[in-house]
Amino acid sequence: MNQQRPELVCPAGTPAALKTAIEAGADAVYVGFRDETNARNFPGLNFSRPELKDAIGLAHRNGAKVLVAINTFPRAGATDIWHRAVDDAVTLGADALILADIGLLAYAAERHPEARLHLSVQAAASNPASIRFYAERFGVRRVVLPRVLTVAEIKALNAEIAPIETEVFVFGGLCVMAEGRCALSSYATGQSPNSNGVCSPAAAVRYVETETGTASMLGEITVNHFRHDEPAGYPTLCKGRFVAQDQASYLFEEPTSLNTLGLLPDLIDAGITAFKIEGRQRGRAYVAAVVSAFRQGVDAVLAGGTPPVASLDAIVEGGRETAGAYRKAWR
């Protein structure tokens, strides 16, 4: 069995969350600037330049790394905003940059050849030919895999692309579509993850009372409807209920969260370099609970045991979880 110790990469939307993640056992924390250059461009979230400087100092004093996500696709005619984000992240001492756009990768590789580059999940590099391209062309050292592959496929992929590292999501919100290749949000609201760093943006959300309950809406689109006795969930488009084949259903995916605690032995055996927890938009309680659970889980498996059963039910979306594409049956 492959016993390489995977790095636990944890989310931080605020300096407080970063501190919490490090205290809970994060090996690395990923963050973004407070603007459209990252894929979690939510109000009240993310880091100013001075905040990032302090965060990197704190992390390094505690033996943790800071990875800076600059993973939206730069707007034509405004690429300087993204270039500045790359320059500043390098200057402030980021341990790696997480990039998705080919033009931005070219810029970073040329201007900062010493910088460690990771390929964002938003680039959806799902096969050896794509991954090798990013490694050979831009010196990408690690690829965050899109959530489309099974564990067996990831293991085979790792054997093929070594020494390029892979990072996979182990917990949190789950894209059902190939990441960075989905325009559902902009079709309904005009704002997309690729262009604006937001999916199903809060500014477009409305809850409308009906005779029988509450409709959750995104722009003009009814994403779901809840009875009076049901809690109304957030209208993320791909987790909504729609009518197809004369039947209302969660056509794309149930409101559910990825949770791979039970799969950790297989994931560790697959030779993955880093495990990533989703949720830069989540609060400190979430970060503390999830990071601790995965720290204990990874350490237990490496010590030859099984991951302790942690209760993360209270914090998963809709109280439900899935192993997503990691198990073939999901497809």
């Binding site: 391209f133 079709y187 309904a188 609201t189 690729n194 009814t222 009518v243 039947q247």
Partner: protein, 302 residues
């Protein structure tokens, strides 16, 4: 100004072998279209259906004077997928359209077309693909006219804009045609063949919203940029893509050709397009920087 060119995008849906053959033969014989893309873009499981008749279709199209482009798979996951692309991409006799970075990389410096499912959002990325061998690029659906104009200004290769048909919005490892019929992807029985123009997806309150084509999600609305052809030409766009739908594509191509040539007023063309697409709704929001599903050019409204 370069002459305007029309491209027929690859047929994205799972039509019967006869329907595919008849469709492309008619395009070859009757359609005023410059370039025809063909190839399985959506689902690797369907690729074997097209393969046996592909040579004959390509011969017919080529003989009719069309440029033929082989479009490649959008979501490449297996070694078999990659081998298929590698075979096509390294054949000096064919021009491929890359819809995944893997295909562009596998072309190994040979000329290729950068497809609409690649993420080309800015001039730096466009230049990278041109440097890799792209001889033109079809831009993603969600780009507004402002971004298109900026790209056209800096472009060293011709740009193509999607101008008609359902917009490809997402690809997934999961098959929603199968899922909606309580089937697993592995045992899908190719139920996507029942959705030749996409499976309608409505909201709970009955508003048509999306269309599912197996693992692909498209817009309910048909895009029509008939009213934007002149300004896009002014901005330097030479090529316009028409996506095959279950409507008379020869007639659709004719409307676009005559509007581009200035022989048909865009409003009149819009009326005729609506007649050719009964029961379909139109949208053009993205080009105006709005949500993709809205219609800004009210000449297309009934």
């Amino acid at each position: 100004m370069n002459p305007a060119r029309l491209t027929l995008g690859p047929l994205l849906y799972n039509w019967s072998a006869e329907a595919v053959r008849d469709f492309y033969f008619r395009i070859a014989d009757e359609a005023d279209i410059d370039t025809v893309c063909i190839g399985e873009v959506v689902c690797a499981k369907r690729a074997p259906f097209l393969a046996p008749q592909l040579p004959e279709i390509v011969r017919r199209l080529t003989a009719a004077g069309k440029e033929v482009v082989l479009s490649t798979l959008a979501l490449v996951m297996s070694a078999a997928d990659l081998n298929l692309i590698a075979e096509t991409a390294t054949d000096d006799g064919v021009l491929i359209e890359a819809n995944d970075v893997s295909a562009a990389a596998l072309a190994g410096g040979r000329p290729f077309v950068a497809g609409p499912l690649l993420n080309i959002y800015n001039e730096d990325t466009l230049a990278c693909f041109a440097g890799m061998g792209a001889i033109r690029a079809c831009l993603p659906a969600e780009l507004p006219a402002t971004a298109i104009a900026t790209l056209a200004e800096s472009a060293s290769i011709p740009l193509e804009i999607q101008a008609f048909g359902r917009l490809p919005l997402a690809v997934s490892a999961r098959c929603y045609a199968a899922r909606s019929r309580s089937l697993a992807k592995d045992g899908c029985r190719f139920v996507c063949a029942q959705d030749p123009d996409g499976m309608p997806v409505d909201t709970l309150d009955g508003v048509p919203f999306l269309a599912v084509n197996g693992t692909q999600t498209l817009s309910h609305h048909y895009l029509s940029l008939l009213g934007m052809l002149a300004p896009l030409r002014q901005a330097g766009i030479d090529r316009f893509r028409l996506w095959p739908q279950t409507v008379d594509m020869v007639a659709v191509a004719d409307l676009f050709r005559r509007t581009l040539a200035g022989d048909l007023d865009p409003a009149e063309a819009g009326d005729r397009l609506a007649d050719l697409c009964p029961g379909r709704d139109f949208a053009d929001g993205y080009i105006h920087g709005r949500e993709g599903r809205v219609l800004v050019d009210m000449e297309m409204a009934d």
